[in-house]
């Protein structure tokens, strides 16, 4: 029996089939007949899963491995002997020895009718669609040999495209009402911005009162984009502006590349998930015409210095100075989706957020100040582009407060998908590129910065540095791998004991440094509710990433996504990390150089506070 514990309707929750006491089948398995072949499957397996494990392909559209079952598109219909109607294989749990047929004339006709109906309402030309050749509706049409519009085809748009959000663009003319975005937003992320509105032929996916996406509590995470089967949802693409800047000889265009895109961009070039293209990407970017290619991992290291120092300062303020205005636990602030989430849903806890900017924004500020001087370029002539796995980064770089260099710190946030498009447009096949390094003065970064890409990475990087600062020794984990931080469990909780501390940190002697790592805002909500109930009073540091899996599962990453794909990407990052010579942020020589030459009053000092730290906005749930 499905028990209600969230606001998800029971119908949309996964089936929990109760195993009867007098189960007549042996070992909890049921033997069914699929297309006259006998197969044994575990009790409660859906027909779809049973077919998949027996190499029988069933088309799907509203089904997504990350989401609960909907059963709305009806493409996966099969015939179950003895039932009056066809059954959706995605939702039908096998609990008795049924006979299933997957390709009867009736099944084939029904599927074809359904695809024809969807196409009749789907406005748009494939050539001009961002999802051309990566569209599940297009693929279905091909699979079923659709060669004409049986039930006609809409010839003019019914909906205005919502371009209000700097991150996510909604074109409901291409929507097939599979509700994956709705389920992503409500179930996976527990934000709940999107829902079906109206009924019958007026049904559409909309926001609260059909407001523009920019005017509702959307956190810009872009997870809906990653799960949209068509081009109805896509990111706000700035590549035309970037091309224009590259083509403008008066502009000095620099790009910083985040750790996650390099582990995923190969998928856009037909490579299997889990192959890193760091050096190849550097070469491709230079060939496209970027003047300098920098590694965001540098500013990730910088973030660790700032955020780690801030944590130690907070610990001192709370434990030694008994300053009640200082809040613990401290939350990480790298994920702009998480920032907007807490600003909307838990604005009363903003004091817990680290004031450190995200690596993207730190880098922007450093490029338009320190780098401008070092390279002798006028900051107003510099265009900074950030290659990110993220759609929320687009919103972040447009925040009005993100201009501490005196200019817009980061001009454009570009997603992995958009970057791949630019590379293809430049006639480059990424996997064939020779490998080159990042540019000075920021050079190659530490492995700690690289693992920011996976959930738990920021925590692991911070612990490597903070532990060493406090005790003078390396973290007590084999090969620096802090296993409790790794893996895709929703909320991870662990601690490290601080012993034999150095003189400055004697006040931490014997303390258990407790930390939590959570990814996906649904898990963030769990953590925030624990905090609200006062259950986290002894926790010191919490890492939260808005996207499931962390940045490697970001809303700007290649489509499709699934846990298997995210696991492969994370593996690529961790493997690359282990091969790097420097694996601790505080050992990054370029970071040290920056503190010696530029941020001379050290981490959390006066200048770094001006350039590398920020403040947040209490947004609340109600926006007028």
């Amino acid at each position: 029996m499905a028990k209600r514990d969230s606001r998800t309707p029971v119908s949309q929750q996964p089936h929990t089939v109760e195993i009867p006491d007098d189960i007549t089948t042996i070992g909890g398995t049921v033997t069914v007949e699929i297309n006259e072949k006998k197969v044994s499957v575990p009790f409660g397996t859906t027909i779809l899963e049973a077919c998949k494990t027996n190499q029988i392909h069933i088309p799907t559209l509203c089904h997504h491995p990350d989401l609960c079952i909907a059963g709305t598109c009806r493409v996966c219909l099969v015939d179950v002997e003895g039932m009056r109607t066809l059954q959706t294989s995605c939702s039908f749990p096998i609990t008795s020895p049924i006979k299933i047929k997957t390709t009867t004339p009736m099944v084939r006709k029904a599927r074809r009718h359904i695809i024809d109906l969807l196409l009749s309402e789907h406005y748009g030309e494939c050539y001009t669609c961002v999802r051309n050749n990566n569209c599940e509706l297009q693929a279905l049409a091909k699979e079923y040999g659709v060669d004409n519009f049986t039930f006609g085809h809409v010839d003019k748009p019914r909906f205005e495209i919502d371009r209000s959000s700097p991150s996510v663009i909604r074109d409901m003319n291409k929507c097939v009402l599979c509700k994956r975005c709705v389920r992503t937003c409500i179930d996976l992320q527990e934000v709940g911005v999107l829902e079906a509105i109206n009924r019958g032929d007026k049904t559409h996916i909309g926001t609260f009162y059909d407001k523009a996406l920019a005017d509702v509590v959307c956190i810009n995470c872009g997870q809906c984009i990653n799960r949209c089967p068509t081009g109805a949802l896509h990111a706000n693409d700035p590549s035309d502006d970037i091309w224009a800047a590259i083509d403008d000889p008066t502009k000095h265009v620099v790009i910083q590349t985040a750790p996650s895109p390099r582990a995923a961009i190969g998928e856009e070039f037909g490579q299997p998930a889990g192959t890193s293209y760091t050096g190849e990407l550097n070469t491709a970017l230079r060939r496209i015409g970027f003047d300098k290619v920098f590694d965001t991992n540098f500013s990730a290291d910088l973030t660790i210095m700032e955020e780690g120092t801030e944590l130690l300062n907070r610990l001192k303020a709370v434990l030694v100075d008994k300053d009640e205005s200082v809040k613990l636990p401290q939350f990480t602030s790298c994920s702009p989706g998480w920032i907007k989430y807490i600003e909307h849903f838990y604005p009363e806890y903003l004091d817990h957020l680290s004031t450190a900017k995200s690596p993207q924004q730190m880098f922007g500020a450093v490029i338009k100040t320190f780098y401008a001087k070092e390279a002798d370029v006028k900051p107003e002539d510099i265009v900074t582009v950030a290659l990110m796995p993220c759609s929320a980064k687009k919103f972040e770089c447009n925040r009005p407060e993100m201009a501490d260099s005196g200019f817009k710190d980061v001009d454009y946030g570009l997603t992995t998908r958009e970057m791949a498009k630019m590379i293809k447009e430049a006639g480059i096949h990424l996997p064939e590129m020779p490998s080159t390094n990042f540019d000075d003065p920021f050079g190659d970064a530490s492995g700690a910065g690289l693992i920011f890409g996976a959930t738990g990475g920021v925590m692991e990087a911070a612990l490597r540095t903070a532990y060493e600062l406090v005790t003078g020794r390396e973290v007590p984990f084999k090969n620096l791998k802090i296993e409790p931080c790794r893996g895709f469990q929703g909320v991870k909780q662990a601690s490290v004991k601080l012993e034999n501390c150095v003189e400055d940190y004697k006040f931490l002697e014997g303390a258990d440094l407790k930390f939590i790592v959570a990814h996906g805002t649904a898990n963030a909500k769990i953590v925030m509710e624990m905090l609200k109930r006062g259950e986290l009073n002894d926790v010191h540091f919490i890492e939260i990433m808005a996207c499931p899996g962390g940045c490697i599962g970001g809303g700007g990453q290649p489509i499709p996504t699934s846990e298997a794909i995210r696991t492969a990407r994370a593996k690529a990052i961790y493997e690359e990390e282990e091969s790097l010579p420097i694996r601790k942020s505080h050992e990054n020589t370029h970071v040290k150089y920056l503190y010696e030459k530029f941020l001379t009053d050290g981490p959390c000092g006066h200048l770094s506070h001006k350039l590398l730290h920020t403040h947040y906005t209490k947004r609340g749930k109600f926006i007028s």
Binding site: P9, P93, L117, G200
Partner: protein, 408 residues
């Protein structure tokens, strides 16, 4: 013209037979749940909402299901066009419905009953609430009902908000939970996973109203009426071109022509049976019978005489479905739209017979591919009217555009 026959005119072998409040509940407590289920099974009672699922089976399944709580839901969202029998029961025979719910609660072990009342019936809310209050005073609701230790049951009334689809039991449950009224996937069925995830019996008003009579007089008495597979009697909501529209209790097995005679219908061309989602029967088939063996129905009878334009009748139905589909599943949401477009094409004369046949095929797909009963039955009028009245509809002189209408 009388719209509803006066109460004194209501005669019938089962529902409109004599009954006093609480009588069947007392009997039910005496004989116990096994005997209630036995009588119910023996009676052969099938759900009166239209789908005709055996009531005893539904009750047994939910009685056997594991759950900390169980619920009885009375489906009073009478939304099928042309049906108003539940309104009469709710207004004039609440004792039957509520006693039926109490007996159901006693039988399956539910402590809570909910009446999902059609939003448009808000005007009867107060009188129903008052009636429940009286029942509480008489200890027919509340704790230890009629002195039976541990037999607690109470009823609340909730109002719908006007969506036709919420008459579908799983959409109704979604709506009760405060969600958008959309049908659920089944399995699992409400008898296992219903309201708030608990085992739930959803019964039509009329089904529940029959129960007290069966408990009192036995399944054997009940099945004396009707036919072998369609036991007992049925309430018919008769409207349209006849002199005496209203609610009638008639035994199953009665022929269409007999019903038309009773309600004084003349020059009848067609009878739409089962509401908008039912089938349209032409004059040539008026000797067919109302029964699960022949034409099963929830009881909505719409009579059309010779002056009616069947294409307009069909268009009216299809417009209704286009608007009332919940919009969730593809075949129903877009399919109904395509069928309506087809009707419009016929009306304007701009159609091919090939395309109309394609639409009929689509209708057959909708019948087996839609998620719930709405989309599974909405093509019925399209298919039956186009089939049974093709002479009238495709004869260009009869079409709206007169002889200008051109069929290609």
């Amino acid at each position: 013209m009388e719209t509803i026959i006066k109460k004194t005119q209501r005669t019938g072998p089962v529902i409109f037979s004599e009954y006093t409040r609480g009588k069947a509940v007392r009997k039910a407590i005496e004989i116990g749940r096994n005997d209630i289920l036995f009588e119910l099974k023996d009676s052969g009672l099938k759900g009166r909402g239209g789908a005709g699922f055996p009531t005893a089976t539904k009750w047994m399944l939910s009685a056997a299901a594991n759950g900390e709580k169980k619920y009885i839901v009375c489906n009073a969202d009478e939304g099928e066009p042309g049906t108003f029998k539940d309104r009469v029961l709710l207004l004039e025979y609440p004792e039957l419905i509520f006693d039926g719910m109490v007996i159901a609660g006693f039988t399956i072990g539910a402590k809570e009953g909910i009446v999902y009342l059609r939003g448009e019936y808000e005007y009867m809310l107060k009188s129903l609430e008052d009636y429940l209050e009286e029942m509480r005073k008489d200890n027919l609701l509340g704790k230890n009902i009629l002195g039976k230790d541990g037999f607690d049951f109470d009823i609340t009334i909730r109002l719908g908000s006007g969506a036709y689809v919420c008459g579908e039991e799983t959409a109704l449950i979604e709506s009760l939970e405060g969600n958008r009224g959309e049908p659920r996937n089944r399995p699992p069925y409400p008898v296992n996973t219903g309201f708030m995830g608990y085992p739930t019996v959803v019964n039509n008003v009329e089904t529940l109203a029959v129960v007290p009579h069966i408990v009192l007089k036995g399944g054997g008495w009940f099945k004396q009426h009707g036919t072998d597979k369609s036991t007992g009697s049925k309430l018919f909501s008769v409207s349209g071109d006849c002199a005496r529209p209203g609610v009638y209790e008639l035994p199953w097995g009665i022929k269409i022509s007999e019903l038309l005679f009773i309600v004084r219908a003349e020059n009848t061309k067609a009878v739409q049976i089962g509401g908008a989602s039912g089938v349209c029967i032409p004059k040539s088939q008026f000797d067919r019978a109302f029964a699960y063996e022949d034409i099963a129905t929830g009881g909505s009878i719409m009579i059309f005489n010779e002056s009616r334009n069947m294409l307009k009748v069909l268009k009216n139905f299809m417009e209704f479905f286009v608007e009332e589909s919940c919009g969730q599943c593809t075949p129903c949401r877009i399919g109904n739209l395509k069928l309506l477009e087809g009707v419009n094409k016929i009306e304007s004369g701009d159609f091919t017979f090939g395309y109309i046949n394609t639409l009929k095929e689509l209708g057959k797909t909708m019948q087996v591919a839609s998620k719930c009963g709405l989309g599974q039955s909405s093509p019925n009028p399209f298919i039956s009217i186009l089939e049974n009245f093709k002479e009238e509809i495709f004869n260009s002189k009869n079409r709206n555009g007169g002889s200008n209408g051109k069929a290609r």
